[in-house]
C-alpha cells in the first residue's frame, strides 16, 4: 500500500474514534458526517495522476503521522496572534483548531448587525437549520472537503441579516495550536449573506507551533440577491505547516463577491476556490498573491462557473517564486450553454526570482455560448533589467532595487484590499516576506 492509501486509512480510523466519542447526536448532522466519510473513503488522498492534482505532491503530507488536534481555548498565544486592526475596524473572533471561541466579544449581539456564532451551538439549538446549511459542500469533487465534513463538529457561522450594512469587518483568526507532535484540524466557516446585506470578512490563518501540522479548512459562502461580500484570506502559517483550503461560493442574482487570497507561508498551501454564478447580474472579483520559497509549494486552483447569462468574473493571480520554490496556478472558467453576455477575464502573472524556482500555470477557458467576451493571459518572467538598471542609476543598490520592484509587483493586489487599515498593517508583513526571497 502506498503512503497516500495509508494516510487515508489513518484518517478514516480517526474518524471512527471521533464519531464514537461524539455519542448520541441529532441524526441529521451525523448523516452529513457519514456522507463525508464515505466520499473521502472513495476518493482518498488524490495522487498526481489526477488532472487537478498533477502539480501537487501530497507525499510529504501523507507521511505525517497526524493525530487529531485537541483545542485549548485558553491558549495565550492565540489571543495576541492575528493582525491587530483595532476595535473600530474589525470585530475579532477565533477558531482554535476548529473550535469557536469568541474573543473580546463573547456574546453574540444581534442588534450589532452581523451575527457570528459557533456551529456547535447552532447544531444543538437548531439542528435542522444546521443540517440545511451544512449539506451543500461539494464532497464528491473535493476529497479534503469530504474529510473536513467527516470531522464536522464546531466552526463559525457568520450571518449578515437582510439589508444590513456593518461598517466593521469581521476578523476570524483561524489558529492551529502548538503540539509536540503533528496534529490536524478541520476548521469550518459558513457565511450566509442575506439579500442586500454587506459584509467584510477576514480569515486570518496561522499556526502557533514550529513543527509540522495540517489545517484542512472549508469555507462556504452563500450570497443572496444583491448581497455584497468582501472576503480576505490571509495564510501566514509557518514553514512546516500544511494548509489545504476549499472556498465554495454560491452567488444569487445581482450579488457581488470579492476575494483576496494572500498565501504567504506554509510548506504546502493548496487553495481550491470555486464560485458559482447562479443568478443574473452577479459579479465576482478574485484576487490572489502567492509566495513560494525554498522547498515550499503555493498551489491555487480556481473555478468560476458562469451558469446564467449577464454575469461577470474578473480574476487576477500573481505569483512570486523564490529560489527552490514552486508555484501553481490553475484557473478554470466555464461558460455554460445559454450563459450569454458573459464577461470573463482571467490573468496569472508570475515572477521567478531564483534558481530552481518553478511555476506551472494552466489558465483554462471552457466556453459553450457565443455572445461572450472571455480572455485569459498568463506570463512568466523576471524583474525587468531596465527597471533594475534605472533604479541603480538613481543610487539604489541592486538588492534594494529588486526589493522595490518585487513589492511593486505585489502592490497591485494589495492596493485593492477592502479596508485601508488592513492594507497598512499588511504591507510590512508582505514586505518582510518578500525581502527574504531575493535571489542574486
Amino acid at each position: 500500500m502506498n503512503a497516500l492509501a495509508i494516510a487515508r486509512d489513518r484518517h478514516l480510523a480517526d474518524y471512527e474514534g471521533f464519531a464514537a466519542r461524539l455519542g448520541k447526536e441529532p441524526a441529521l448532522v451525523a448523516a452529513i458526517r457519514q456522507q463525508g466519510a464515505r466520499a473521502f473513503r472513495r476518493q482518498g488522498l488524490p495522487s498526481r495522476k489526477l488532472e487537478n492534482w498533477r502539480y501537487t505532491n501530497l507525499g510529504p503530507l501523507a507521511k505525517l503521522q497526524l493525530g487529531p488536534a485537541s483545542p485549548n481555548l485558553q491558549s495565550p498565544a492565540t489571543a495576541s496572534a492575528g493582525l491587530s486592526l483595532g476595535d473600530s475596524v474589525a470585530r475579532r473572533f477565533t477558531l482554535h483548531d476548529g473550535r469557536f471561541a469568541a474573543d473580546r466579544e463573547t456574546d453574540v449581539t444581534q442588534d450589532e448587525g452581523v451575527e457570528v456564532q459557533g456551529l456547535a451551538r447552532l447544531r444543538r439549538t437548531a439542528p435542522e437549520q444546521a443540517a440545511r446549511l451544512l449539506s451543500n459542500t461539494p464532497i464528491d469533487e473535493h476529497p479534503f472537503a469530504a474529510l473536513n465534513t467527516a470531522f464536522l463538529d464546531d466552526g463559525a457561522l457568520v450571518r449578515a441579516p437582510r439589508g444590513i450594512f456593518d461598517e466593521r469587518a469581521i476578523q476570524l483568526v483561524v489558529a492551529a495550536g502548538a503540539y509536540p507532535d503533528p496534529r490536524v484540524s478541520h476548521p469550518r466557516v459558513l457565511v450566509v449573506a442575506e439579500p442586500m446585506s454587506h459584509l467584510t470578512l477576514i480569515l486570518d490563518f496561522l499556526n502557533e507551533g514550529d513543527g509540522p501540522g495540517f489545517t484542512n479548512a472549508v469555507t462556504e459562502l452563500h450570497l443572496a440577491e444583491d448581497a455584497v461580500v468582501q472576503l480576505v484570506i490571509l495564510q501566514r502559517e509557518r514553514a512546516q505547516h500544511f494548509h489545504i483550503g476549499g472556498v465554495f461560493v454560491h452567488q444569487e442574482r445581482g450579488s457581488r463577491f470579492s476575494c483576496h487570497t494572500l498565501s504567504l507561508g506554509g510548506a504546502l498551501v493548496r487553495n481550491d476556490l470555486s464560485v458559482q454564478l447562479a443568478g443574473e447580474g452577479a459579479v465576482s472579483r478574485l484576487r490572489g498573491l502567492f509566495v513560494a520559497r525554498e522547498g515550499t509549494v503555493a498551489d491555487n486552483h480556481t473555478r468560476v462557473d458562469h451558469a446564467v447569462p449577464h454575469c461577470e468574473s474578473h480574476e487576477l493571480y500573481k505569483g512570486i517564486i523564490g529560489e527552490g520554490g514552486r508555484g501553481v496556478f490553475h484557473g478554470h472558467v466555464i461558460v455554460q450553454p445559454d450563459a450569454q453576455q458573459t464577461l470573463a477575464e482571467q490573468h496569472n502573472l508570475n515572477l521567478l526570482l531564483g534558481e530552481k524556482a518553478e511555476i506551472d500555470s494552466r489558465p483554462q477557458l471552457e466556453i459553450n455560448a457565443d455572445d461572450v467576451r472571455c480572455s485569459h493571459g498568463s506570463t512568466i518572467g523576471q524583474l525587468d533589467a531596465e527597471a533594475l538598471f534605472y533604479l541603480q542609476s538613481r543610487a539604489i543598490d541592486e538588492s534594494g532595487a529588486r526589493e522595490i520592484l518585487t513589492r511593486a509587483f505585489a502592490e497591485e493586489i494589495l492596493a485593492e484590499l477592502p479596508i485601508p487599515e488592513l492594507r497598512t498593517s499588511l504591507e510590512p508583513v508582505v514586505a518582510a516576506e518578500l525581502a527574504g526571497l531575493q535571489g542574486n
Binding site: 488532472e51 517564486i321 450553454p337 445559454d338 450569454q340 508570475n350 521567478l352 526570482l353 531564483g354 534558481e355 530552481k356 524556482a357 518553478e358 511555476i359 506551472d360 500555470s361 494552466r362 489558465p363 483554462q364 477557458l365 471552457e366 466556453i367 459553450n368 455560448a369 457565443d370 455572445d371 461572450v372 467576451r373 472571455c374 480572455s375 485569459h376 493571459g377 498568463s378 506570463t379 512568466i380 518572467g381 523576471q382 535571489g439
Partner: protein, 486 residues
C-alpha cells in the same frame, strides 16, 4: 447578428463535401482484424528487412498491452463511441496492373482521381513546380520529380521504397522522435503502418521545390496508417506540404498517422498541412477520426521546425504537432487554424519542449467553431531546468459562430528555469456586430463580410502557408463556413 431564416444562407447550409466521391479500382486488401499475422503480412507485402518486422512486432505487443490496460486516451474533450480495432482492415492497396516504370503506367483511374482532387501528379502538370507523393489508401501510388530532386541528392519517395533504398537512414531515425511506445495511436501505427512519405535533404541543400504528399482514403472499412519521416541534414532547408481527402461514407474511418521530423544543425523544416478529411454530414454521421501524432526534433544548434496546419475536415481531430527544442538556439513554431462546423470536434494544439539554451517558440492558434462544433486548444509549453533564456509566446484566439458551438482553451505552462519568459494569451468572442455592420455598410453582403472577417482573423496563420496552399486554405475556410452564418 443575422437572420438564420435568410434563404440564401439556408441554401448554403446543405452544401456538400466536394471530395466525397469514390474511385472504382480493384483493391488488394486483407480481411478486417488485427493480430500478429496481419503485422507479418503487411511487413511481407512490403518485403521488409527483419529489423523492421521486429520493430513492428514490439509495437504490436505493446499495443496489446495498452488495450489490456485500457490506455486509449480519454482526456481529450472529444466524444465518440469506442472503436473496434478488430473491425478495421489494416491494409488496402489498389491492385497494380503491372510493375510501374513511369507515371504513364499508373492506373488511369487513379490519375483521374488525383486530377479531380486538383493534385498534379501527371507529368503534364509539372509546371506547377511541386513534387508530389500520392498516397492512396495504404500505399504510395506515384511520386513526381524524383529524378530532378535526386540530382541534388535529395531522396523523396514512398516510405516502402525508402526502406529498400536507404535502410540505414530509416533504421537510424525511425522511432527516434516518436518511439513505438509513445502513445496509444502511435503504437498502433508503429505496428501496422503501411506506407507514407520519406524525404532526406542532404547537407547544405536548399530543396528547390515544395515537397508534397497527398493522402487519399478510398476503400471502405479500412483505416489509414501512414508514417512520414523527414530528415533535414546540416544546413538544409525543406518546405513540405500535406493534403488529405476521403469519400463520404456514413461509417467512421480511423486515420492514425505518425509524422517524425528531424532537423540537424542549422537545418530548417517547414511543414504545412491542409487537412480536409470528410467531416461527416451535418448530423454528425460518418467522417474520419483523425488521431495523429506529429513531432519534430530540433536536434541541431540553430535548427528550426515550423508546423502550419489548417484543419477543416475530420469528424474528430486529435492532433498535437510538437517540437522538441534540443539544440541550443533552436526555434519551434506552431501556426494553426482549426474550423469545426456541424457536429465536428477538434482537440488540437502543440507541445513545445524547451531543452536547449536560448530556444524560442511561437504558438498562434486560431479556432473557429460554428453550428454544434466543439473545439479545444490544448498545449504544453515546458521550459526545462537547463533551458537558459528560453522564450515562448502563445496566442490562442477563438471565434464562435452560433450559440451551440463550444470553444475551449487548455494551456499548460511549466517553467523550471527562472530566466525564461513565457507569455500566453487567449480571447474568445463572436464576430463583432460593429465589424459586420461596417463591412455591410460598405456594400458587402453579410456572407462576404463574415468571410472577410474570418479570413482576417486567420491571416497570421494563413500567411505562413506556401502560396498554392494559402489559396486552397482560404477557399476551404470559406466552404466550411458557408451555412454557419446566423
Amino acid at each position: 447578428m443575422s437572420d438564420p431564416q435568410n434563404s440564401e444562407i439556408r441554401g448554403l447550409l446543405d452544401r456538400e463535401y466536394a471530395y466525397g466521391f469514390v474511385t472504382d479500382v480493384d483493391e488488394d486488401r486483407i480481411p478486417a482484424g488485427l493480430d500478429e499475422d496481419v503485422v507479418r503480412l503487411i511487413s511481407r507485402k512490403k518485403d521488409e528487412p527483419q529489423w523492421l518486422l521486429d520493430w513492428r512486432l514490439k509495437a504490436f505487443n505493446r499495443f496489446l498491452q495498452m488495450l489490456d490496460e485500457e490506455t486509449e486516451p480519454t482526456w481529450a474533450k472529444v466524444d465518440y463511441p469506442a472503436i473496434d480495432y478488430q473491425a478495421i482492415s489494416y491494409y488496402s492497396a489498389p491492385k497494380p496492373k503491372a510493375e510501374l516504370e513511369s507515371l504513364g503506367e499508373v492506373d488511369p483511374e487513379l490519375l483521374r482521381t488525383y486530377e479531380k482532387l486538383g493534385i498534379p501528379i501527371s507529368e503534364q502538370k509539372r509546371l506547377s513546380g511541386v513534387a508530389v507523393d500520392a498516397v492512396f489508401d495504404s500505399v504510395s501510388v506515384a511520386t513526381t520529380y524524383k529524378e530532378e530532386l535526386e540530382k541534388q541528392g535529395i531522396i523523396f519517395c514512398s516510405f516502402s521504397e525508402a526502406v529498400q533504398r536507404c535502410p540505414e537512414i530509416i533504421q537510424k531515425y525511425l522511432g527516434s522522435v516518436v518511439p513505438y511506445s509513445d502513445n496509444f495511436f502511435a503504437t498502433l501505427n508503429s505496428a501496422v503502418f503501411s506506407d507514407g512519405s520519406f524525404a532526406y535533404i542532404p547537407k547544405g541543400v536548399r530543396c528547390p521545390m515544395e515537397l508534397s504528399t497527398y493522402f487519399r482514403i478510398n476503400a471502405a472499412g479500412t483505416g489509414q496508417f501512414e508514417r512520414t519521416l523527414l530528415i533535414a541534414d546540416e544546413g538544409s532547408y525543406v518546405s513540405y506540404l500535406e493534403g488529405c481527402t476521403a469519400p463520404m461514407r456514413d461509417e467512421n474511418q480511423l486515420h492514425a498517422a505518425v509524422v517524425e521530423l528531424v532537423a540537424l544543425d542549422d537545418a530548417e523544416i517547414k511543414y504545412s498541412t491542409v487537412q480536409n478529411w470528410y467531416p461527416g454530414d451535418k448530423d454528425g454521421v460518418g467522417g474520419i477520426y483523425n488521431f495523429v501524432t506529429k513531432r519534430g526534433a530540433c536536434r541541431g544548434r540553430r535548427s528550426k521546425i515550423s508546423w502550419t496546419q489548417v484543419e477543416t475536415g475530420s469528424a474528430i481531430t486529435w492532433k498535437y504537432p510538437s517540437c522538441i527544442l534540443q539544440g541550443d538556439d533552436s526555434v519551434g513554431a506552431f501556426y494553426s487554424v482549426a474550423m469545426t462546423n456541424h457536429r465536428q470536434q477538434a482537440d488540437t494544439g502543440t507541445k513545445m519542449l524547451h531543452i536547449g539554451k536560448n530556444t524560442r517558440s511561437t504558438i498562434v492558434s486560431k479556432g473557429i467553431s460554428a453550428g454544434h462544433g466543439e473545439q479545444s486548444y490544448r498545449g504544453l509549453v515546458r521550459i526545462g531546468r537547463g533551458a537558459e533564456n528560453a522564450r515562448n509566446h502563445s496566442q490562442c484566439d477563438s471565434l464562435l459562430l452560433g450559440d451551440r458551438a463550444g470553444a475551449h482553451t487548455f494551456p499548460y505552462l511549466e517553467t523550471l528555469n527562472p530566466s525564461a519568459i513565457v507569455e500566453h494569451e487567449a480571447t474568445t468572442s463572436k464576430i463583432g456586430e460593429d465589424q459586420l455592420f461596417y463591412c455591410m455598410q460598405r456594400g458587402l453582403s453579410e456572407e462576404d463580410a463574415v468571410s472577410l472577417i474570418v479570413n482576417g482573423f486567420c491571416k497570421e496563420v494563413l500567411r505562413e502557408l506556401p502560396m498554392e496552399f494559402a489559396v486552397e486554405a482560404q477557399n476551404l475556410l470559406g466552404l466550411s463556413l458557408e451555412g454557419s452564418v446566423g
